[in-house]
């Protein structure tokens, strides 16, 4: 299992320099493949934003639960 994870990690990491090799400019990944990574970034922003908000909501609910338990 551990080995497999290491292999996957290695495979992922080895693709990064392969992408950068042909291009002189840096930070080009967002403009590669028809800028699809911009869409990925937008998607992730929304997901992370919603998740953070829901976690905040969860803490609020836990606080209320504790308060209710104390009252009983």
């Amino acid at each position: 299992m551990k080995q497999r994870i290491i292999i996957i990690l290695f495979a992922l990491l080895s693709t990064v320099p392969a992408l950068a090799q042909n291009q002189p400019e840096m930070a080009d990944i967002m403009r590669s493949n028809g800028k699809i990574y911009v869409v990925v970034a937008v998607c992730l922003t929304i997901l992370i934003g919603l998740f953070l908000y829901l976690i905040y909501l969860d803490t609020k609910i836990s606080k209320l639960e504790k308060q209710n338990n104390r009252n009983e």
Partner: protein, 208 residues
Amino acid sequence: MDVPRLFILNETIRNLYFHVCMWFAMMILFIVSLVYSIKYLRTGSIQQDISASQFAAVGVLMGLLGYITGAIWANYTWVTDQGQSLAAVLKEPKLIGAAIALLIYGAYFVLRGSFTDIDKRARVSAVYNIFAFSMLFPSIWIIPRLVGSLHPGSPGSDSGNPALNYNDIDSRLRLVFYPAIIGWTLLGVWIATLRIRLNQIADKELIK
């Protein structure tokens, strides 16, 4: 799903399903909030006031997400790939208008927080909510369409609402876009109802 092949935009046209839907969800949630505020003023029940404030809160969340995603999108289409200077982007009427609209709604929560008397808070903030909604008209619907702008929907791009104009949006996009609006809006409604239920439990004594 295939999308129209456009220069500069490239695949980022798919952000239509995310960035634009955020704003649609925000507008719909604000409309719901407005309806509850009017209902509060008619009935005077705190229940309606809770609903109004929570729908507005989730609307602001959607607006903020729309703003951030818009900034990312603009960075790769306006700033770098159209060679626009940052100064030109910051003068963008759509951006300024949306910022003003969100700040007006931000003031709604400041106003709510500043009252200790619950009935007074509900009444004043219901009236303020109607004002805040009416300010959406000039700030995000009218002014950006009157003045030149990089954003779609301005006079430069020769269209009305870029998302709903039948000449502007491709039918392949519409197939995903309309369900996406409904989906994101329902997600917002769900979060709002969670918050409403939470506040109903918190203020159980007040509602009775």
